[in-house]
């Protein structure tokens, strides 16, 4: 598999019905680590993630990976804020991306079982996935996204409406994924989580990339007044 990164977006913009959802955005993603995407509600975090992932329509500008788009689409994964559960058992859900890639059933199930144990779902392999709790569903979604060993993983507020324990478990899965070389791009509402996970930060405001930088400097000395206000907990619009 050829390298996916760097990802370069130039003037990338997504519109729907004349309304700009996000953009124009210029950014460059490279190397390992966790990029955290923050910003007030409606700033376009979800739109930007799906635009980079390639599921939202690019109205203008360009988004280029270091390899052809077809390969790029197969080497990345996306975790939704509200996980989508296939109406199957836990293990069948996790094995699904492998089955799509024509991995033999036996091998796919074996790998899915290992992946399920890694995220702590080893005891519920044959449970019906749509009946799992919110935290369990999100862990399943993570295991399913990571099983193809994507080079880039997008996560749209993966811990929204989860309790502390589920959040702790999910964050440890994410840091483990970072350690194994996956590039993570994660949007979040939770500034505590942003501080815990971020290697670098993108601050989105009104559809535009307003401020960005390495986590160490961004959280201590944000350059723009809006980012400073947002980090202090003020309402920014």
């Amino acid at each position: 598999m050829s390298a996916l990164l760097p990802l370069v977006a130039q003037g990338a913009m997504s519109r729907r019905g004349g309304r700009v959802l996000v953009g124009p955005v210029d950014l460059r993603l490279d190397g390992p680590g966790i990029t955290v995407l923050i910003g007030p509600n409606g700033a376009g975090k979800t739109s930007l993630l799906s635009l980079l992932h390639g599921t939202a329509r690019l109205s203008s500008g360009s988004i280029t990976w270091a390899c052809p788009l077809d390969e790029a689409r197969h080497a990345q994964a996306f975790v939704f804020q509200r996980p989508v559960m296939l109406r199957r058992s836990v293990i069948e859900n996790i094995a699904y991306p492998l089955r799509i890639r024509k991995v033999p059933r036996r091998e796919a199930l074996a790998r899915a079982e290992t992946a399920a144990r890694r995220v702590g779902l080893g005891e519920m392999l044959n449970r019906y996935a749509p009946l799992l709790s919110g935290g369990e569903q999100q862990k399943l979604a993570l295991a399913r996204a990571l099983i193809t060993e994507p080079q880039v993983l997008f996560l749209d507020e993966p811990c929204a409406s989860l309790d502390g324990r589920a959040m702790r478990e999910i964050e440890s899965i994410l840091t483990a994924a970072r350690a194994s070389g996956t590039r993570l791009v994660l949007s979040t509402h939770d500034m505590g989580q942003a501080r815990r996970l971020a290697d670098d930060v993108l601050f989105l405001l009104r559809g535009r990339l307003h401020d960005s930088g390495p986590a160490t400097t961004f959280f201590t000395r944000p350059e723009t007044p809006q980012a400073r206000a947002f980090l202090q907990g003020d309402i920014v619009e």
């Binding site: 994964a77 939704f80 989508v84 296939l86 109406r87």
Partner: protein
Amino acid sequence: MVDIWNGMTQAVWLMLTLDPELVEISLRSLRVTLSALLVACTIALPLAALLAVRRFRWRRGIIALLNALMGLPPVVVGLVVYVILSRSGPLGVLGLLFTPTAMIVAQTVIIVPLIASVAHQSIRELWAEYHDLLISMNVSETQKIRTLLWDSRRALLTAALAGFGRAIGEVGAIMIVGGNIDHATRVLTTAIALETGKGDFGLALALGFVLIALAVAVNLSIHWLGRTERGDRW
């Protein structure tokens, strides 16, 4: 009341003694309808999934048409199939008229729209649920269709059973294209029509009860095979 009572006793008697003629007619009914169901499902289920997944120009029109054709009058279907299969018709050379195959064709035509419509409704809902995930995973169209068909299999079973119910109880079309020929194309419904016409209400009712029993038995066994209403699911 006497007629109904007579019919029931006669039905029980016919079934207990495994009356050879009754067995033959019942088996033919089953064979014709199950074959029609199999063919219809092979056409209707992928069609239903395709209509959910792919956006093309005539999509809405086809869905509306299928919904409308659910109420297709069997007599008219029988007539059209008759004309096509008759000796002077376009497929006359096949010599299919007044054979069980002709009956299978007619029943298939009748139940394809029904199965496709009912199946499409549930597949569409499932697709709305799965859409973002499958798009994100870059799943090919064939894989989408297979995933949707597999994961909505219980709803599809219901669609198939509705089709079975319509086909097994259908008399107008198969009477025309089959001709109700003894030992060749006589099935339960056409036999009932015949016996009623002859005034043999006892036998007609007996056949009717057998028909109902058959429909119930097939439904129950398919449910049992599909393991619906069991275990911790649904």
